[in-house]
Symmetry: C2
Subunit: 150 residues, 2 copies
């Protein structure tokens, strides 16, 4: 009963969570919605890359896009998303340092990793209201005026 491939959505969900950048995006969004530019600046990635990640998260149903003017605000699609992250953190917590690295079989090991963990999902336990446009928010997050990229 090879049902492999029958769980598309689950795989999709986890896949979208299995990336540092996307995880970071969710963390940021959990703290309040953001525009693409904001995320681009905070992540330090190319705009196209961030846009791609957002598309991925969106197609997985984790975030929602709220076009507003010429920018687009993104927010967590639903509180359950955060619940899931919390559950994950609990597991990581319980597993403690059991977590090592995932040397996908036949992998030299010890290359793409090397940083300590902790605070993986960081400040959890808080869920913000995704849809909350009090109008046009200028400086949404307290992101210190960065030296405007470029």
């Amino acid at each position: 009963m090879n049902r492999l491939g029958a769980d598309r959505s689950a795989v999709l969900l986890f896949h979208s969570l299995a990336d540092p950048a996307r995880l970071a995006v969710l963390r940021l969004l959990a703290d309040g919605e953001r525009k693409v530019v904001d995320l681009t600046a905070e992540l330090g990635l190319a705009q196209s890359t961030v846009s791609g990640h957002l598309a991925c998260l969106r197609s997985a149903g984790l975030v929602e896009a709220h076009p507003h003017g010429r920018s687009t605000y993104y927010a967590l699609a639903r509180p359950e998303v955060w619940q899931l992250l919390v559950a994950a953190e609990h597991l990581l917590d319980a597993a403690g340092s059991t977590v090592e690295l995932c040397p996908e079989h036949h992998r030299p090991a010890g290359m793409t990793c090397g940083s300590s963990i902790h605070g993986c999902l960081a400040h959890a336990e808080r869920v913000r209201e995704p849809h909350e446009h009090p109008g046009v928010r200028p400086g949404v997050t307290a992101v210190p005026a960065h030296p405007g990229r470029r």
Copy 2:
């Protein structure tokens, strides 16, 4: 503050869950521990492939290996694992069919998908005791009262 890559363990965790085969393995293990051969047969994959997946899950701290004779039994490492899967199912449930496919940006779309979802994680809501060897597994290749279980 590019902390990308700082959440290794979380990424590792989700990555290990982001695969149909590994997800299937967890589902099977949730129903009771198995030997590699069993899994190989049930998944319809090469033994080396299954072994690789198990190594991945193990390094992520999701499953535990219990060498027994010349075979090795695998079981969920801890109940939290199942909790996480349940949380994921809740999310998928709530998201309903919002979940589509994840056309990682710049992807033709409409190719690797086409199957309906539902029952992704299937029979959830049930948490078995991973470490519960009532002597010897019943259906699982009735291992006679093994002497050493080093």
